[in-house]
Amino acid sequence: MEYWDPHIERMPVDELRQLQEYKLKQLINYVYSHSPFYKKRLDDAGIKPEDINSLEDVKKLPFTYKQDLRDNYPTGMFCVPNTQLVRFHASSGTSGKPTVVGYTRNDINCWANSLARALTSIGIGRGDNMQVSYGYGLFTGGLGLHYGAEEVSASVLPTSAGNTGRQIELMQDLGTSVIACTPSYMLYMNEAAKNMGISIKDDTDLKIGILGAEPWSEEMRKRIEDTTGIKAYDIFGTSELSGPLFTECKYQDGIHIWADQFLVEIIDPDTGEPLPDGERGELAITTLSKEALPLIRYKVGDLTALNSEPCECGRTHPRITRITGRVDDMLVVRGVNVFPGQIEAVLMNIPEVGEHFQIIVDRVNEMDMMKVQIEMTDTAFSDRVNDIISLEKKVESALKSVLNVSVKVELVEQGSLPRTVGKSKKVIDNRNL
C-alpha cells in the first residue's frame, strides 16, 4: 500500500490550507469556551476568537510553553471532563514537575492514524513483525508505536526497552523486520548482538529501524545503516502533542507533519517571528484535532527548519528537516553556543572513531573546559603512543573547526562509557550555572 489515506495525504496545498484555516478557527472557539487557561491567555493578549479569520492570524496568538503545563499540573489545561478521558501519559519530571497528558478516545484514534500514515509511507504494513523497543508505560514511545503498528496490521512484539539478550533472541527467532527504539539503543543492541556471536546485518531479518526520542545526526544514520544493514528512519513527536507522531517517508528527506492535524511554524528564537522555509529556528506546533489537551503554538523546544516543497513520495504535507538539537541541550562554552548534535556529526565523520562518546564540561579557574571522551575501537588502536595521540589531535582539530571552541579529546577504554536503553545522556555539565 502506498498511502494510508491518499485523499488527505495528497490533498492540493491550497485545499490543505483552507482545511487548516477552518480547523484553526474551530480550535480557537473550542479552547476559548472549554479551557479557562486559554480563555485567560487570550483575554490577557486582547484576542477574541473572532479576531482569528485566516491562517496568517495565527501570528497574533500567544505561544504555549512546557512551563504552562507544569504550572497547571496535573490537569489544569484539559478541555474535557474526566468522563471523556480514556488514557493518561506523563513525562518524567527531571527538572521540576512532570507533565501530564490526557487523551479522549478520538485523540488516541488520531494518534494511531497519524502513525499509520507514517508507517505506510516507509512501506511497513501487514506481514511485518515490528519490535517496539521503546519503553512502555507512562512514556508515550512504546504504546504510541504499538497502536500505530496495529493500525497498519503489522504484528507487534511489545518488548519494551531493556533485557537486550532476550530482544536479540526474539528478533532472530520471530524474524523481526522492523524495530522502533532510540538510535543509541540500536547501536547498543548491535554491540550486544556481536558479543553473542550474532550479526544483525547477516543473521537477522531486520530491515527497518524507526529511531528517535533523542536528537541524532545524518552521520549517525549512515553509521547505523552501514553497521546493521538496516534502513534507519527518523521519527518525531513529543508527549505533549500525544507522543511519537511523524516519520520520514521512504525518501528519508525530512519528516512529514500531517497538516490537517497539526499546524507547524518555525520561530526565530530572537524575534519570536515566524521564519520562512529553509531557515532554522524553534519549532512551534498548534494541534488542530486534539480534544483533551489542545495546544496553541506550543514551543516544543526543538530546532529545525521547514520544507514545504512537494515531496517525491507525492505527499503534499510539509516536512521538517533533521532536528539539530533541543533548545534545552544547547551548551554555552566560553560564550560559544555548542550543540551535542554538532559534536556527534563531526565524530561520526571520522571512521576510526566509535559510536560511543560523552561530553564533559567543567569550569576550571573561571574558565570553561570542554572534554569529549571517545571509546577506543579495535580498528583505531595502535601499539604506538604517537598514533593514538595523533588521532586525538585529529579529532580535536576537526571539532575546533566546526565548533569554534577548543575541545580536549580523550580516548577511553571500550565499554567504559555508560550505555542506555532509553534516551542517552551524552552531556555531563559539572558547572554550577
Binding site: M376, T377, D378, F381, S382, D383, R384, V385, I388, I389, E410, L411, V412, E413, Q414, G415, S416
Partner: protein
C-alpha cells in the same frame, strides 16, 4: 633459518591510567593460564599502552579480547644481549646503518640471567637479516615458552 620463526607476537593493550587495570589484566591472564615473560608500559597522560611478551599470545589475545579489552598482536623481535649497555647501541647502530627505524624497545632479564631486548621496527624482515649478519642471536617463540 626461517625468518618467520624469529618473529615474536607481542600482546598490546590499550588501558586508561586507572588504578587496578594492570592487576585486572594480570588476573585475566592468570585465569587463562598464560605466563607473562616481559612487559612494558608506555604512558601518555590519560592512557597507556601495555606491551607484553607471553608464552601463549593467541590465548592471551583471546582471553583479553573476550573480556572487553582493546588488544592487538604486534610483531616484534627478541634479541639476546651479553653486555647490556654495549649491545644496545650496537643493535641500534646496525639497524640504523641499514635505514631501519626502531619504533620502541624494552629490555628484561630472564630467570637464567640473560638479558633480552624486545624491539619493534619498521621493517622486520630487513631487521632479521641485518641482525643475523651482525651475529646477534634472536630468540624464537619456542624459547620464549621455555624461559
Amino acid at each position: 633459518m626461517d625468518t618467520e620463526d624469529n618473529i615474536l607476537k607481542q600482546i598490546s593493550i590499550f588501558a586508561e591510567n586507572k588504578p587496578g587495570r594492570l592487576a585486572d589484566i594480570a588476573d585475566k591472564l592468570k585465569n587463562a593460564d598464560v605466563n607473562i615473560r616481559a612487559f612494558n608500559i608506555a604512558e601518555a597522560g590519560e592512557f597507556g599502552i601495555i606491551r607484553m611478551v607471553v608464552d601463549n599470545p593467541d590465548k592471551a589475545y583471546e582471553s583479553l579480547h573476550n573480556t572487553g579489552f582493546t588488544v592487538s598482536e604486534t610483531n616484534v623481535l627478541g634479541i639476546e644481549m651479553e653486555d647490556v649497555p654495549g649491545s644496545l647501541s650496537n643493535i641500534a647502530n646496525s639497524l640504523g646503518e641499514h635505514g631501519i627505524n626502531i619504533d620502541y624497545s624494552y629490555a628484561f632479564v630472564t630467570k637464567t640471567e640473560k638479558a633480552l631486548l624486545i624491539v619493534r621496527v619498521d621493517d622486520i624482515k630487513g631487521a632479521i637479516s641485518v641482525l643475523d649478519d651482525a651475529s646477534f642471536k634472536l630468540v624464537d617463540m619456542e624459547e620464549i615458552k621455555h624461559l
